[in-house]
């Protein structure tokens, strides 16, 4: 079951905004201060460019899945190593979304809440969505996408009047180094295009409109920038203490009007978007496991993914321990390799192979022609 280009654009859009509205803005502020918006902007633009690099590879792969494609370029062993790398990346993203949701629901949304009441049905939902495949995830994304977009814009605009533009100045006071450090440290929250690897062979490019994808990516960047602008403008120096960007903005700008209750509706919709993202990356993880261990059916990878999700409910109760996982060099290196280096390597290897292939076919034709001429000469001599 393939998804069309529009659906792919929407999934990409959702993936671009998914991890950005909980703890990330406050964490970015710790190092990059008033320039945090620019760090996010730069990394999102790079992510956007990589979408097209991976899509280019996807088109070159034709009907092959990522494993078959890599195997044809790099051989079986290297392909399996790369699959392990991708599995690590997906596992990190799943852990990040899962823990983000848990902290948000348990600490922020409800005063007393048993996480397992939330996570067990969620796991069944995720399992079901993986079972139904990428098309199901794409359709759900289509359904919730615009409601979330409208909601996010509503929250941002409601709070826009309270911001102080001066708090963003001066630019680059401490130079570029803190921004680079911050980008490296938090890069595991980006790398939003890695899910595309597992969609090789599942996208119908007949309806391809590159402009549509560009529009969606730009739109995602603008929405994230708008929310960050409001967040940093509102909270200024206290930004690092706000771990729940989206709800803190809506709570801070709350008035006494009845329409204010809508904010919580928007926040709830955003939780749905997070669940869809969890399903998307769980799907990717299941696919990667299937390729790595040559598993034939869908059930076993789904069970592994569900157990992995369940595992996150038992570990890392506190934010500090989570930060150790997500901001370690390990997480940054995994993301760097999976999102930013792997596509380039694949492009290079594919180009070399393709050229070699072209050269060898040319040589083969030339040799065949020579052989034919020689045969003809021999025939003439014989005559």
């Amino acid at each position: 079951m393939k998804i069309n280009y529009r659906q792919l654009s929407i999934i990409t859009f959702m993936s671009f905004i998914a991890l950005k509205f909980l703890a990330l803005p406050s964490l970015l502020y710790l190092e990059s201060k008033n320039m945090s918006m620019f760090v996010a902007l730069a990394l999102m633009i790079i992510d956007g460019l990589y979408v097209f690099v991976i899509l280019d590879l996807m088109k070159k792969s034709g009907e092959k899945n990522i494993y078959e494609f890599m195997k044809s370029c790099l051989g079986k062993v290297i392909s399996k190593i790369i699959l392990i790398l991708l599995i690590l990346k997906y596992a990190l993203v799943i852990g990040n979304i899962s823990k983000g949701l848990e902290f948000f629901v348990v600490e922020n949304l409800y005063s007393e809440y048993n996480w397992f009441v939330f996570v067990l049905p969620l796991m069944i939902l995720i399992g079901f969505m993986i079972y139904k495949g990428i098309r199901n995830i794409a359709r759900v994304s289509e359904m919730v996408c615009w409601a979330i977009v409208i909601g996010l814009i509503y929250i941002a605009l409601k709070a826009l009047s309270g911001i102080d533009v001066l708090s963003f100045l001066p630019f680059f006071l401490d130079g570029v180094q803190p921004l680079l450090n911050s980008a490296y440290r938090h890069i595991s929250w980006f790398g939003s295009a890695t899910f595309l690897f597992m969609l090789f062979g599942f996208v119908d490019f007949r309806s391809e409109k590159k402009l549509k994808m560009i529009k969606y990516i730009i739109f995602a960047i603008l929405i994230v920038q708008l929310l960050y602008f409001v967040f940093y403008g509102l909270f200024e120096i206290t930004s690092p203490t706000h771990n729940y960007c989206i709800s803190d903005i809506s709570q801070f700008s709350s008035t006494y009007s009845a329409i204010d209750e809508l904010s919580w509706l928007v926040v709830s919709m955003w939780i749905v978007a997070q669940a869809v993202q969890l399903a998307l990356y769980s799907y990717c993880l299941a696919q990667a496991l299937k390729f790595l261990f040559d598993i034939k059916g869908n059930i076993l990878p789904i069970i592994i993914v569900i157990l992995y999700l369940l595992m996150w409910s038992f570990i890392g109760e506190n934010t500090i321990r989570m930060e150790r996982i997500f901001f370690s060099h390990f997480a940054s290196i995994v993301t760097l390799l999976a999102q930013y280096i792997l596509p380039i390597i694949l492009e290079i290897v594919y180009a070399i192979k393709h050229r070699k292939g072209k050269n060898s076919s040319k040589k083969r034709v030339r040799d065949e022609n020579k052989a034919k001429i020689r045969d003809k000469k021999e025939v003439k001599v014989n005559i």
Partner: protein, 422 residues
């Protein structure tokens, strides 16, 4: 044989995890989680919904008083005031929990009021504990108050019940006319953590004497207020216990989290001329005499105000240039022998003499507040913020020389333009 077994297992797994079965599993799970929930007590039985928390320090003990909302089926709100004390804020809050047998829930706490004593000693520890541990929302309105903590809490509860007035709304109304910023925990934090470490909050007074602008309320329990105070409270009673709550626009300024000075409404209004958000205001000018007015007192309403602040350095002297553009409307004209004119909403009566008088008055007010800030070394006008943002390097050098007294060496240039609404 093995392959046969494998395929059978697969079939079984498929049947267990088929979409239809998944729905069944989901239903069973929902049942597992919902049925035990029926056994649980209602949240209102286990949690006290605190709508206001007052904190003060009395004789080295932290004293707290909370207004608790008890949900009831009739439309009238049912507030009760409880109080407790302890060596620390945590102990004081827990003592109320012990007394009433309920957890104190602060998610709906809309007001946090701080007494004079704790304000003098420093409020940051109390704010930090309440927001971080007890989860009071940072958008909770922050006020300082005078008077006894329990009387104040009771009076605020009665204000709601008797007059249908809410303190948080009264203080939030100030934002538009007086403070120009929300008086809440978040803005206080932003001020505290800024380099100038200046926090602002509204001050509400409680007195036993009737004063101008004061709202009379019963000092002790009334009607649905319940008044089921814990045994640690001192309950008042009787008609003689009338109290007066007064929000006269006084604002408390805090430096390093400790109460520094109070600003009167008049001083705050003058400071607001420098603030773009403070759009509302009036200017009263005396002795206007020209072809229209004869020794008149004219009240001018400010309809719109545009402020442009331009920090710069002239050689090594910082220059804080403020351009104020006012759109005004003449509100009242008071003169002994009024001429037969009709005051319309147009520019006809905004004469040059009146414009000059308005400019003169505004500049005097602005100079006065600059002097006030210099005297008390408080940066109410955002001087640090503007210079830091726009002239950073030169300003840091200037700060090295001047230190805390940086406001005194600045050249304040003020330009005022006045025009009518047409």
């Amino acid at each position: 044989m093995k392959t046969k077994q494998k395929s059978e297992i697969k079939k079984k797994l498929k049947s267990i995890f088929s979409p239809k079965k998944l729905v069944l599993w989901l239903s069973i799970l929902i049942l597992i989680f919902t049925v035990p929930a029926f056994n649980k007590s209602a949240m209102s039985q286990t949690q006290a919904i605190v709508t206001m928390l007052c904190v003060d320090k009395v004789d080295d003990k932290i004293k707290v008083a909370a207004t608790v909302l008890t949900p009831s089926q009739d439309k009238k709100a049912n507030f009760q005031v409880y109080s407790g004390e302890g060596d620390t804020l945590g102990y004081a809050v827990d003592s109320i929990s012990l007394a009433i047998g309920k957890e104190m829930g602060f998610a709906q706490c809309k007001i946090m009021a701080l007494g004079e004593n704790i304000c003098k000693e420093g409020v940051m520890q109390a704010l930090d504990y309440m927001t971080r541990t007890k989860k009071v929302g940072r958008n909770a309105v922050l006020v300082s108050f005078t008077g006894d903590i329990i009387d104040f809490t009771q009076a605020v509860a009665n204000l709601n019940l008797e007059k249908s007035l809410r303190l948080d709304r009264i203080v939030s109304f100030d934002k538009r006319y007086i403070l120009t910023q929300d008086s809440n925990i978040e803005t206080f934090y932003i001020g505290y953590y800024s380099p100038i470490s200046l926090g602002i909050m509204s001050k509400v007074k409680l007195s036993t004497n009737e004063e101008f602008n004061a709202i009379e309320v019963a000092g002790s329990d009334v009607g649905n207020a319940g008044g089921s105070n814990s045994d640690m409270t001192s309950t008042g009673g009787g008609q003689e216990d009338k109290k007066f709550i007064m929000n006269d626009g006084t604002v408390s300024l805090f430096k390093q989290g400790k109460h520094y000075i109070d600003m009167s409404l008049d001083e705050v209004k003058k400071a607001n001329i420098f603030v773009n958000d403070a759009q509302k205001g009036t200017v009263v000018v005396d002795n206007v005499t020209d072809h229209i007015y004869s020794d008149a007192k004219v009240v001018v309403n400010i309809l719109k105000k545009d402020i442009s602040i331009e920090p710069s350095f002239n050689n090594d002297t910082p220059v804080y240039k403020t351009d104020v553009s006012l759109t005004v409307f003449i509100d009242e004209v008071i003169e002994e022998n009024p001429s037969k004119r009709l005051l319309k909403r147009n520019q006809d009566f905004l004469t040059n003499a009146l414009i000059e008088k308005i400019k003169e008055k505004m500049e005097t007010d602005m100079r006065e507040i600059v002097a006030y800030c210099q005297d008390y070394k408080i940066d109410l006008l955002g001087v640090y913020k503007h210079f830091y943002a726009l002239e950073n390097k030169k300003f840091e050098k200037y700060l090295d020389e001047k230190g805390e007294d940086y406001l005194s060496g600045i050249d304040y240039q003020i330009n005022i333009k006045v025009k009518s609404e047409n």
